[in-house]
């Protein structure tokens, strides 16, 4: 023991260093994700010629959502907390007033609310002093209401959520197998037709 220590100590074998380095490299390669932006995707309406008359819509088929300059919310002439908006939008959409909607199990069939999801329109108007944060909150809740109904329907019919199907069809990053997109596309279309997203936005009032 003592004799060996007198010599210079042997060098540390660095041969495995490269392996460790590659291991770490591969680990980081797999785990890091490059930041991707995300947000609420919407389609703006194209500009209508001014002489075109808006179609007539029954009052009960419109859910009026107003936001004032102090970011206060009013739904159908009643003040409401943003937390309750999703719930009341869902209730409005699947009210099933005329009984034509066979896929609206939660419908209350109230005569004050929408005839069917295909007729129902949510009309959103805000003041020009409304903050963008509030606007996004309202958008988020209304989009969530549509997604909830579509998800439920897709789950019942095909056993997958609408969101998953839409992701595979619309997003090239899902790397769907060949033929899957073509198979899912009509299903997505069908669900969209059952609960069409009819969210109209009024031009803001100018002071």
């Amino acid at each position: 023991m003592a004799r060996r220590l007198k010599k210079a100590p042997p060098e540390v074998n660095a041969g495995s260093m490269a392996d460790i380095a590659f291991l770490l490299l591969i680990f980081f390669l797999v785990t890091t994700t490059i930041g991707v932006d995300q947000g609420i995707s919407r389609k703006l309406p194209s500009i209508q010629p001014p002489d075109k008359n808006p179609p007539e819509i029954n009052e009960r088929n419109i859910l009026t959502v107003l936001v004032n300059k102090n970011d206060q919310l009013m739904v159908e002439e009643m003040p409401m907390d943003i937390k309750d908006l999703r719930e009341s939008a869902i209730k409005f959409l699947e009210n099933n007033g005329d009984g034509s909607c066979a896929y609206c199990p939660g419908g209350e069939r109230s005569s004050e609310s929408s005839d069917s999801p295909k007729e129902a329109i949510i009309s959103l108007s805000n003041d020009s002093e409304t903050s963008y944060e509030m606007y996004i909150k309202v958008q988020n809740e209304l989009v969530a209401a549509y997604y909830f109904l579509r998800d439920r329907e897709a789950q019942k019919k095909y056993g997958v959520t609408f969101r998953e199907m839409e992701y595979v069809v619309a997003d090239p990053a899902s790397r769907a197998k060949k033929g899957l997109v073509e198979r899912l596309e009509p299903k997505v279309k069908e669900i969209q037709d059952l609960f069409p997203q009819r969210l109209s936005e009024a031009e803001p009032k100018r002071q």
Binding site: Q38, L44, Y132
Partner: protein, 157 residues
């Protein structure tokens, strides 16, 4: 204890540097993969609102960015307190969006035009009046696909 003393008195061997290239390469690769290129310097404050019903914008080549917000502290003396729009590297007026969209379209292949999305990165304190102006301008040039880009998180808190 005596072991240590004896070791120190001997010649210290040179530290092997054979693995140094590996470490350097590892760091290099790590930074290569993890870095995102910054497109433009923001001259405005940009704190996005949060939402959870979001879709991802994967394909950067189909996205154009429109920023809005109050000028940041450095620029308040030049541009004032009011919320402004930023296109590429400069502050702009809503009417400039028209030319901006046309320029962005020209940079891309004509076949890709239907997939082009305008990503609106708007500060949460901006008033809807300005946002509405932006939307109106986008409608005028028929750039109808928009994405209200948000931070991840629950919207209702």
């Amino acid at each position: 204890m005596s072991k240590f003393v004896r070791k120190l008195s001997g010649d210290t061997p040179a530290i092997s540097t054979a693995s140094l290239p590996d470490i350097v390469f590892m760091l290099l690769f790590f930074f290569m993969t993890a870095t995102t290129m910054k497109d433009s310097d923001l001259k405005i404050e940009n704190r996005l609102p949060s939402a959870d019903q979001t879709a991802k914008l994967h394909k950067k080549e189909f996205v154009m960015y429109i920023y809005a917000g109050k000028p940041s502290k450095r620029y308040i003396s030049t541009f004032g307190q009011n919320a402004r729009i930023q296109l590429n590297d400069r502050l702009a007026e809503p009417k400039d969006i028209n030319n901006f969209v046309i320029a962005e379209r020209a940079q891309r292949r004509p076949d890709d035009e239907p997939y082009l999305t305008a990503s609106l990165k708007i500060d949460k304190e901006v008033k809807m009046g300005l946002v509405q102006d932006v939307k109106q301008e986008l409608r005028k040039v028929e750039q109808l696909k928009v994405n209200y880009t948000t931070a991840k998180g629950s919207a209702v808190d």
